[in-house]
């Protein structure tokens, strides 16, 4: 205990968030001299900023909580209250308003300099400072601390002032609402909507703007600030770049709420290194959360664990590590459970290591992340010959082969996949149905990784992305063209292959170019159009999994048509050389291609014959139906506007219609109402905190009951088909309405005196998966105007049978 002499504490914990509190509590419980330093006057600053009464979740729910502090699902107030009690009862050494300016020294003797010249020494330091604390700056000419603030301490301080609030986040909105009481508030929003706001805030702010309590400028930004005397008598005049040009506003105060970034500077000042320069990069950590600086540990959001429960567990674990106790991570038992199917009761860590070693894909993942991944994943040990997934299933998980082999049966052929590699990436990437059936081989062990987890990994890990892409290309080529080609040759071809990403509308190649590459659509979709009677006619639609450009390769001629990306699209292209190689090794490939080419030529000719079909097609593509998998279309020459479809939808879905018949564009009597298209890569699935949005095997995207009403999906859907709905008013029996008009009648659920801020849940079209006989909207249409179809059938629309 020599160190104890010249160190005030054994552990200094920075940041009284969930992690910090938990660590401190654990230290206190273990009787370790410690200090918990919190820069703000309250604990759990981040949670404090939550909107009032927010429902705080305890994800991952499977994970047990192992902290002396209590924590369970509940309202923000309840959670904070419990922690406050816990902090008191645990007798932890907690210091408010103690902001750490710098950390120097090394293990055993760290010096923490607090603002206000005080210095604390500690043997070990635990950084539990979340991501809050250093706001993004406004950074415009004329900016002065006097006129530009980044926080709002107390709304009551201001009255009768003109205040500009910059930002569209919750903080900005909450400030604006608070200030609007006594001031004239102008909100400056960089976008044309409040995409980052929580649903409650959103409705509140929109209502305020509608009522003109708050003036809002969309697509606007602060251009410059001119302070000093002026006619208006206000301290400064702010010039805004608005959608309608510049606007000058005499202003008292500007409050910028532009979110926060990781306090990287501070962290790096402590000597901690980041792997790359991405803004969202995470410091490299050991399994015991120790950073590259011995003695400094990083937990919580800063360490890449945004979830409360994780941070709290880490708080406990890190202290135990420091005490020298080997703690099994909280997820140990869960993982052990998962690995039970493997039979051999090997140590979890070893199994994990084996897995990482066995599967190259995983070898690039850092151990902690891999644990996370495994927690989400499942381990299968299917019987030999049993089906892993069926052709045309709508599942989109990725499988890795831990041991044994599997067989892909694409058509008559059987392609084996060896140990250590993975499969299912097609479904994962294209978001379309499975392209083949996969059968388990002799005693194989598979790891199934859910789409969400995998996408997270791909997004954050470039190597993983590369591996998957390569595999995808190889498989795509193999299954499409070259089942019998030896891998060596395949490798060459793949080497020549390229991955392209096109934004919606981008040209892949245009009529008259030299055709040298064949494009295989990986995700999204393409439209093929041709110049005819000096205007462009769309002649066909190429969904993910199909390819274009083979004509160019075969004939080596010029492109006969222009190909565009209907939506954001990824393609894999093979060059002529590579393709020639394939055709050498694949007898009959040429014939096959020529046959398909003939078919396509015929189809194109037919389509050109009836240009309006092409027009309809391009119209539909313009509506973003390129990424759809199932669309509701209304033939307005049949639709009598009875709105029975909406009513039916409302009636079959707790009183809220998931479709808006009238809204949406029309072309040549084809009307695209506002209704879910069940995109191949649903935008709504992004950022769903409880991961409540799923795609069922039949293909429909649905929202599970564990929706918490955060409203992310509503904002993320570019087609506005998701709404936040509250509980409907009770309905009398139908006959009472028919006879006496006792309401609410069919579809008239809107409760006039329903509280707009009441807890709502996201609702969207689920294709009436609960009902027999298909979507209610279609079945309720008396005239047959409403139909739901797959994009593959769009070309039939123009046909007059």
């Amino acid at each position: 205990m020599a160190d104890a002499k010249h160190a005030d504490f054994k552990i200094a914990i920075v940041g009284a968030g969930p992690g910090g509190l938990s660590a401190a509590a654990q230290a206190a419980a273990a009787g370790i001299p410690h200090v918990l330093l919190e820069s703000t006057p309250a604990l759990a600053n981040t949670i404090q900023r939550y909107q009032k009464g927010k429902h705080v979740m305890a994800e991952p729910s499977r994970l047990p909580l192992r902290s002396p502090l209590p924590f369970e699902v509940g309202t923000r107030e309840r959670v904070l209250e419990r922690w406050a009690e816990g902090a008191k009862s645990s007798k932890m050494n907690l210091r408010y308003k103690a902001e750490v300016a710098a950390i120097t020294g090394a293990i055993g003797a760290f010096r923490l300099e607090l603002k206000g010249k005080e210095t604390i020494t500690a043997e070990r330091v635990v950084l539990a400072i979340g991501l809050q604390g250093n706001p993004r700056k406004l950074g415009v000419p004329g900016e002065e601390p006097r006129t530009v603030h980044y926080t709002l301490d107390d709304p009551a301080d201001h009255s009768g002032e003109t205040i500009i609030i910059v930002g569209a986040g919750d903080a900005a909105i909450e400030n604006a609402l608070a200030l609007a009481e006594a001031n004239s508030v102008v909100l400056v929003n960089r976008k044309d909507e409040f995409s980052r706001a929580k649903e409650g805030n959103l409705t509140a702010i929109l209502r305020a703007i509608e009522k003109r309590q708050i003036e809002c400028f969309y697509n606007a930004s602060v251009a410059k600030i001119v302070s000093g005397r002026n006619s208006s008598g206000k301290p400064c005049i702010v010039t805004l770049n608005t959608a309608r040009g510049a606007a000058e506003l005499p202003t008292d105060l500007i409050i910028a709420r532009l979110g926060a970034v990781a306090p990287r500077a501070f962290v790096e000042a402590c000597g901690i290194r980041f792997p790359n320069d991405e803004p969202d990069a995470i410091p490299l950590l050991k399994h015991n959360y120790e950073s590259n600086v011995p003695g400094i540990y990083v937990i919580g959001a800063l360490g890449g664990y945004p979830l409360i429960k994780q941070s709290m567990n880490q708080g406990y674990e890190v202290v135990e590590h420091i005490r020298g106790n080997r703690v099994k991570p909280a997820d140990h038992d869960l993982l052990a459970e998962k690995f039970a199917v493997l039979g051999a009761n090997t140590e979890v860590n070893i199994t994990l290591a084996n897995l990482q070693r066995a599967v190259p894909l995983f070898s690039h993942v850092n151990p902690l992340q891999f644990r996370e991944l495994m927690l989400e994943s499942t381990v299968h040990r299917p019987a030999a010959g049993s089906v892993v997934f069926e052709h045309n299933d709508y599942t989109n998980t990725l499988y890795a082969i831990f041991s044994g082999t599997v067989e892909v049966s694409a058509g008559p052929k059987r392609i084996p996949i060896k140990r250590g590699s993975f499969f299912g990436e097609m479904g994962l990437l294209s978001g379309r149905r499975r392209t083949a059936t996969v059968l388990a081989g002799e005693d194989c062990v598979l790891v199934e990784v859910p789409r969400r987890t995998m996408n997270k990994l791909i997004a954050s890990n470039t190597q993983v992305k590369r591996l998957i892409d390569e595999a995808f290309i190889a498989r795509a080529v193999q299954s499409r063209f070259a089942p019998n080609t030896p891998d060596a040759v395949l490798k060459q071809v793949v080497a020549g292959a390229q991955l392209h990403t096109y934004p919606a509308g981008a040209v892949v190649f245009s009529e008259g170019d030299d055709g040298d590459r064949l494009h295989l659509v990986r995700s999204g979709s393409l439209t093929v159009s041709r110049q005819s009677r000096n205007r462009e006619v769309v002649v066909s639609y190429v969904p993910a999994g199909k390819y274009v450009g083979e004509m160019g390769l075969l004939g080596g001629t010029k492109r006969s048509a222009t190909v565009r990306a209907a939506v954001a699209t990824e393609t894999v292209s093979i060059d002529a050389a590579g393709f020639a190689l394939l055709m050498q090794h694949e007898p009959g490939l040429r014939e096959q291609m020529q046959a398909e080419m003939r078919q396509r030529l015929a189809a194109n000719a037919r389509m050109e014959a009836q240009p309006d079909t092409g027009d309809i097609l391009s119209f539909l593509m313009a509506q973003g139906l390129g990424e759809a998998t199932d669309v509701l279309l209304i033939d307005e020459s049949l639709c009598v506007r009875c709105d029975n479809c909406e009513t039916a939808c409302a009636e079959t879905h707790q009183g809220t219609s998931r479709l808006d018949r009238e809204a949406g564009p029309t072309f040549a009597n084809v009307h695209v109402p506002t209704s879910c298209r069940h995109c191949e890569h649903p935008h709504c699935m992004k950022e769903c905190p409880p991961d409540a949005i799923h795609r069922s095997p039949n293909g429909e995207i649905f929202i599970a009951d564990n929706c918490i009403g955060c409203g992310n999906c509503e904002r993320n859907c570019p087609y506005g088909v998701i709404q936040m709905a509250s509980v409907p008013a009770p309905q009398p029996p139908i006959w009472q309405w028919l006879l006496f008009g006792r309401g609410p009648g069919p579809g008239e659920h809107k409760d006039p005196n329903a509280d707009p801020l009441a807890t709502k849940k996201a609702v969207k079209c689920d294709m009436c998966s609960g009902l027999k006989g298909g979507p209610a909207c279609v079945r309720a249409c008396p005239t047959g105007a409403a139909i739901r179809i797959r994009p593959e059938r769009f070309q039939q629309l123009g046909d007059a049978d």
């Binding site: 307005e636 506007r641 047959g784 139909i787």
Partner: protein
């Protein structure tokens, strides 16, 4: 490739047309080959049979109103029901006519029969409306939803008000009172005739008077007059802009009224069909009651 959309008449290759034809032919044959030893009427065995069949059909056809609103019904589609509703409704005429045995008179029974014919006639009108009007509606809308039009009108109003304020207080009063008095819709009759019920308030020697303002005519007149007498160029151009806004609004309002009118026409036949069907139900009850009461 065959079409994706089928009207309710073509539902499942018009299967219900054939059902209806079948029933009709069967009824006709039975009627032709019937030997009752008495003149044909509702009283013969066949008469009763046809009568019961007809009554059941009527009840079933009435049930369509319920089926259309029972959205959880999993088997059959509303389209199928409508298709059947139309075709069997037509077959009903034949069946009931045979039921009468062409014995008519000034009595409840013939009254019920007449009602039936009226109901079916209004139904045919409905079929026509359902097949013809939707296209017109689409054309009339010109790709705008009614909400869009309202929004645009609102926007025009805002700009007009601003402009008007810039011109003079009087003009502002005209414009705002015209906005105040603008009407796109109205009573059923107004809707069907697409009549403009708009009014505005003008200043008649010091007192406010509300005058009709069809297609903003009054307002336009006032503004035009002012423009012609406008002294400086700025004022003139402002008034020009104002007039432009007003005429734009007029176009929108006309389009909106036309839309409402078509919508009304699509619904109008129901104003006859439904109440008459209910009357028919009543008459049917009376008919059956009378027959049984004086058996």
């Amino acid at each position: 490739m065959q079409r994706l959309h089928f009207s309710f008449l073509e539902y499942r290759r018009s299967r219900f047309l054939w059902v209806a034809v079948l029933i009709t032919v069967a009824a006709l044959i039975a009627y032709a080959r019937d030997d009752a030893g008495e003149p044909p009427s509702g009283g013969t065995t066949l008469g009763y049979a046809l009568g019961i069949l007809g009554a059941l059909l009527i009840l079933w056809l009435l049930a369509y109103g319920l089926r259309r609103r029972s959205y959880h019904a999993s088997w059959t589609t509303a389209q199928g029901w409508l298709s059947a509703h139309v075709y069997l409704g037509l077959a009903l005429v034949v069946i009931v006519t045979l039921h009468t045995g062409f014995q008519f008179g000034w009595n409840v029974h013939t009254f019920a029969y007449a009602l039936l014919l009226l109901v079916v006639a209004s139904g045919c009108w409905g079929v026509w409306a359902y097949l013809q009007l939707p296209r017109l509606i689409t054309d009339a809308r010109g790709g705008l939803t009614r909400a869009d039009m309202a929004q645009q009108i609102l926007e025009l109003d805002r700009r007009a008000l601003t402009l008007a304020r810039a011109v003079s207080m009087d003009v502002h009063r005209w414009v705002s009172s015209a906005i105040e008095g603008a009407r796109t819709s109205g009573g059923a009759w107004a809707q069907l005739r697409a009549k403009d019920m708009s009014t505005m308030v003008i200043d008649r020697n010091g007192t406010a008077a509300s005058v009709p303002n069809v297609d903003q005519y009054t307002l336009t007149e006032l503004l035009a007059d002012l423009t012609s007498r406008a002294s400086d160029a700025k004022l003139a151009s402002q008034l020009q802009d104002l007039l432009a806004l007003v005429s734009a609004k007029v176009t929108l309002m006309q389009r909106m009224r036309r839309d409402l009118r078509l919508q009304g026409l699509v619904e109008m036949w129901l104003l006859f069909h439904v109440p008459l069907s209910l009357a028919l139900l009543a008459a049917l009850i009376a008919h059956v009651f009378a027959v049984l009461y004086y058996w």
